[in-house]
């Protein structure tokens, strides 16, 4: 199978990640830090070492700011529900994933969805600054679009947030491990990460790095700390880590970060392939593209397209018949599709990862070409 659904999860995990996970399962099956025996302490050391690595990688102020959640969506929920009061106002963008939009809308928060201009960054920044109200309590934006690949001007938005004293959160699901999400450099107060994507780690775990306080808890339970107190701890990371941590996932993150460090050309490689893919697709009659060619720092390696006359789901199904894995539809980001006017048909999304090769891209293009050529016949079937 040619796996081109890396925005959903990285399809191939590096050998060191697999080894770390296996080793943990076999040799370190203990509850980290909760019991007093050596195995529990060794497990806790792994957890602490991983917090340290994450803190260093993302430019956080210390390992104690790093917490583990069930996934990135839970981390985002912890931030939104943890910080914003009932009468508070949130600023976000018009191409967010449902992980950001659903907590905001379902819980009835007052919000402004700022229209992002992909051709004029200053226009976007002006709109964000204009949207600030007296009761704005959070600015939360995605680092990069999971559908169209655009990278948000994180640093500049962070500067605006800092200037106005407003907490700034970033949904790093698509950007982490690829673009620069250094929290200090980019004025990020809360960073939510999906390690199973850009950090090449197992799924079932998320990261929340919180440099500022979180007022409200999301879930409460045993933390192995302050255990005589029936109230949930109010400090990171324990505040957000009720229950047993996903030690296998944590071991995977530890190794995943090592993998990223040892492959510094990762982003460049992915964008080069995305760029070649885009060029090839743009030459096929009947293929519709929605953005300009992906370039480094402006895009992550995600290309969305359609074939005229075919539904995105049909195209994806045909690719699947040729053992090519992509994702079609709305990608849990309806607002992005509304913005790009693809809400009625969705798009076929190709998302490239480190392990994809030029040959795979060219083979995929060849299949798409055949589908596009036959599209009128397919419609009649």
């Amino acid at each position: 199978m040619i796996y081109l659904d890396n925005a959903a999860t990285s399809g191939k995990k590096p050998k060191n990640v697999v080894a770390a996970v296996t080793n943990t399962l076999i040799n370190l099956s203990a509850n980290p830090g909760r019991s007093g025996h050596k195995l529990s302490e060794r497990a806790e050391m792994l957890v602490y070492d991983t917090r340290n690595k994450i803190s260093n990688y993302f430019g956080a102020s210390g390992p104690e700011k790093v917490g583990f959640t069930a996934n990135c969506t839970m981390a985002i929920n912890a931030v939104i529900k943890g910080i914003v009061s009932k009468n508070g106002h949130i600023i976000t963008t018009d191409f967010e994933h449902n992980a950001v939009m659903r907590p905001i809308v379902t819980n009835g928060y007052n919000y402004t969805s700022v229209s992002v201009s992909f051709s004029d960054k200053s226009k976007t920044l002006n709109e964000i600054e204009k949207a600030i109200k007296d009761n704005t309590e959070l600015i939360i934006v995605t680092a990069a679009s999971n559908v169209f690949g655009f990278v948000t001007p994180i640093k500049e938005i962070g500067q605006i947030a800092k200037k106005h004293g407003i907490p700034f959160a970033v949904d790093g699901a698509q950007g982490a491990g690829v673009i620069d999400l250094d929290m200090k450099k980019n004025y990020i107060d809360y960073l939510c990460v999906a390690p199973h994507k850009g950090l090449y780690s197992p799924s079932g775990i998320g990261i929340l790095i919180a440099e500022k306080n979180i007022k409200n808890t999301l879930i409460e339970g045993g933390t192995g700390s302050d255990s005589v107190n029936l109230f949930q701890p109010r400090f990171m990371p324990d505040m957000i880590e009720s229950g047993t941590q996903n030690l296998i996932g944590i071991a995977g993150i530890n190794a995943g970060i090592d993998f990223i460090y040892s492959n510094k050309n990762l982003y460049k490689k992915e964008i080069e392939l995305a760029s070649i893919l885009y060029d090839q697709l743009s030459r096929i009659e009947g293929v519709v593209l929605y953005t300009k060619k992906p370039v480094i720092n402006e895009f992550v390696a995600v290309v969305s397209f359609n074939i005229e006359g075919l539904s995105s789901q049909k195209t994806a199904a045909l690719l699947n018949d040729s053992s090519i894995a992509v994702r079609a539809g709305l990608h849990c980001a309806p607002t992005a599709h509304i913005k790009m006017k693809t809400i009625d048909i969705g798009t076929v999304r190709i998302s490239i990862g480190y392990f994809n090769t030029l040959q795979e891209i060219l083979s995929t293009v060849s299949v798409i070409k055949k589908i596009a050529k036959r599209r009128k016949n397919i419609l009649n079937e």
Partner: protein, 76 residues
């Protein structure tokens, strides 16, 4: 010279405290706290020898380590 047993709030702070002290050339270990369970719940403490100026304690406090209590005993 005194031996200090500094109870901290969480395993994370215990590990961070130990790392901080070691970076400042104070040899430290972590152990499971055996008393005050009813007062503080289960937890860890950082154990190290320190001088009379309490350099190590100052390092921990300066770096935001959440300290629950400090016990000291003379080192023979």
């Amino acid at each position: 010279m005194q031996r200090y047993k500094v109870s901290v709030q969480t395993a994370t702070y215990a590990m961070k405290g130990k790392e901080l002290l070691r970076r400042n050339r104070i040899s430290a270990e972590i152990e499971r706290r055996t008393e005050d369970i009813g007062k503080y719940g289960c937890g860890y403490r950082i154990v190290f020898n320190d001088d009379t100026e309490e350099t190590g304690i100052a390092i921990l406090k300066r770096n935001g380590i959440r300290i629950l209590n400090i016990k000291k005993e003379a080192v023979l």
